[in-house]
Every structure is written in C-alpha cells, then in structure tokens.
Symmetry: C2
Subunit: 156 residues, 2 copies
DNA sequence: AGTGAAAGATGTCCGAA
DNA sequence: TTCGGACATCTTTCACT
C-alpha cells in the first residue's frame, strides 16, 4: 500500500461512485491501473466493501446511547458477544479497559425503545452484573472516515 | 419513505455497487423506478453518500480509544467542537449526559500517537478541565449499518 | 505495475402512461 | 411513480510493455 492507494481510499470514502477514469485523472494513472489497485485493496481486506451512509435520525433512530457493561465472570464474555451480535440496534461492541468490560453503542427509535433494548437484550441476566448508560444529546461529528493518504504532498 | 426505500438502503449498505437492475429485481421495480427512488433518497438526505469502508487497523490505526471530556464553562463548548472538528483522528464527538460533557472516539497509530493527540489537540488548555480515557482492546462489532427495512415481510 | 483498445454491462435521459 | 428504449459512460478483459 503506497501513497496512491491511500489517495484512492480517501477519494472513494468521499464518493464511492467515482469512476476509474476520474480517480485515475486525480492521481495520474490509467483506468486499468486504478482498477487493478482497487481490486488488490479489496483482496487484501483494506477496502472492506462499497457502501452507502444513511442518516440514522432520518430513518427514525432519534436516540443514540453508549452503555458500559460489566460482565459477571470472564468466561461469560463470549456468550455476551454472541448475544450482542444478534441485536441490530447495537452498532458497536468494544472490549475495553477500565472499571467495565464492554462499551456498546446503541441506536433506538425513542427512549422507550432504548429502555426495552437494555432490559430485554443488553443487560443479560446472570451475565451482565452492572451497566452505565450515557445518552447522546447531539453529535458534532459522527463519521466513519479513515484518513489513508499521508500528508506532505498537495492533494488538490 | 416506504418499505421499498428501506430495502434499497439496506441492500446498498451491504453492497454500494449493486446495479439498478439487480436492485430492481430484488424489489420488483424497473431500472428507472429504482434510480428515481435513489435520487430522491439522496436529495432528502436519508442517503448521505456513496462510500467505502476501510479497515482502520490495516491502514495503521492500531489503537482505538474513547475519551470523556469535561468542559470548564458551557460557553467554551462551541470552541471545543470547532477545535475537535479539525482533528482527523477524531471520528466522533458526542455531547452527552452524565458527569462529563463530551464523548470522543479517537483512532491512533500507536499509544505514543494517542498520547500526543490527547495532549496536543484534545485536552485543550483552559477549555477542557478533566478527561477520562478508555482504551479498546478489541471490537467484536464495529459497523455503521443502519437497519432501514421494517421486518414482517420476507427479504430473501 | 503499467498502458490502450474493444466489448459488454450499466447509468442516464427521454416520452409516454 | 412507473415503464421501456436509445444513447452515453463505465467496467472488464486482453495483449503488450
């Protein structure tokens, strides 16, 4: 992965529909060379997939929350992760340092929905011993952009 | 936004390169009808943009952290948000409930880089009074998928 | 790794219902 | 909103450097 690959990844994150021709024009490569690089980035797993970004609020998820979870015993961790994988409203589940074991990011339609999710699917009896929920008022930044091109050469 | 729009959004989140023809085959609409719906979803802002997902670890971001931030005085919040917007390693910045004001998600190349980011760009003097950093060991789930289609009708 | 050219697939625009 | 058809553009493959 060199600097040109980084630029390709940055450009495609901004517009995943850019053609090989216009990508190539930006970095000075032919259509075929660009395609070959992108294919290779996909095969290596760096480019996980082509996608779209959806405005969660506009499709009805007006509540966002972060929930810290403490697990009763370490051997229950795998079971917890498996259960959480099944919950579509949970976008992220991180094993973390500190007084809790997991940090979970949850989307919900409203407070009632969040309450129901926490009670019925997240604070799993006999597995989760303690939890602490933080509600998001608003997000001044909420992207998934990963800067790939190193700075130092102009990218205009 | 009806059920078919929801299905389109779900399918495009999984594969943003699906052709109008194959999208149409799945939901029983013509190429033109699919294009018209997708254009409309973009205009309304529900579909924010076409993009790709990049594996952060594979491009060198091996450290992920969540940082709680307490702001000294409420009138410094805007300045904090503006400063944070400029930091590419900060993916998310949420105004939250609880003992802190903000929760920030940060990517870094390594621990040294994280330390440097915290000291030089996040724990801003005279604005940030207190912070608490949680390091991520591993993530069993880290997606940005937003389920848009309501359940009840089969989607095979 | 890179190139250009040809062929097939796809996006886009149109008039009509 | 939806459709099908016509045309422009893009993707993909190939032979070659």
């Amino acid at each position: 992965m060199d600097h040109l690959d980084g630029k390709l990844l940055d450009m495609l994150q901004v517009d995943g529909r850019m053609s090989y021709a216009s990508l190539g024009k930006e970095i000075g490569l032919s259509v075929t060379a660009v395609k070959e690089r992108i294919d290779k980035l996909q095969r290596s797993g760096v480019l996980k997939n082509f996608s779209i970004e959806v405005d969660a609020a506009l499709v009805g998820y007006s509540v966002l929350a972060f929930v810290f979870i403490a697990i009763d015993r370490p051997e229950y961790c795998e079971e917890f992760e498996n259960q959480i994988l099944e919950v579509p409203e949970v976008q992220e589940c991180h094993h973390v340092t500190g007084g809790f074991n997991y940090l979970v990011k949850v989307m919900a339609n409203d407070m009632t929905h969040l309450e129901q999710l926490l009670l019925s699917r997240i604070k799993i009896p006999h597995i989760v011993s303690r939890s602490e929920t933080t509600i998001v008022f608003s997000s001044s930044k909420n992207s998934s952009f990963v800067k790939c091109a190193r700075n130092g050469s102009r990218d205009d």
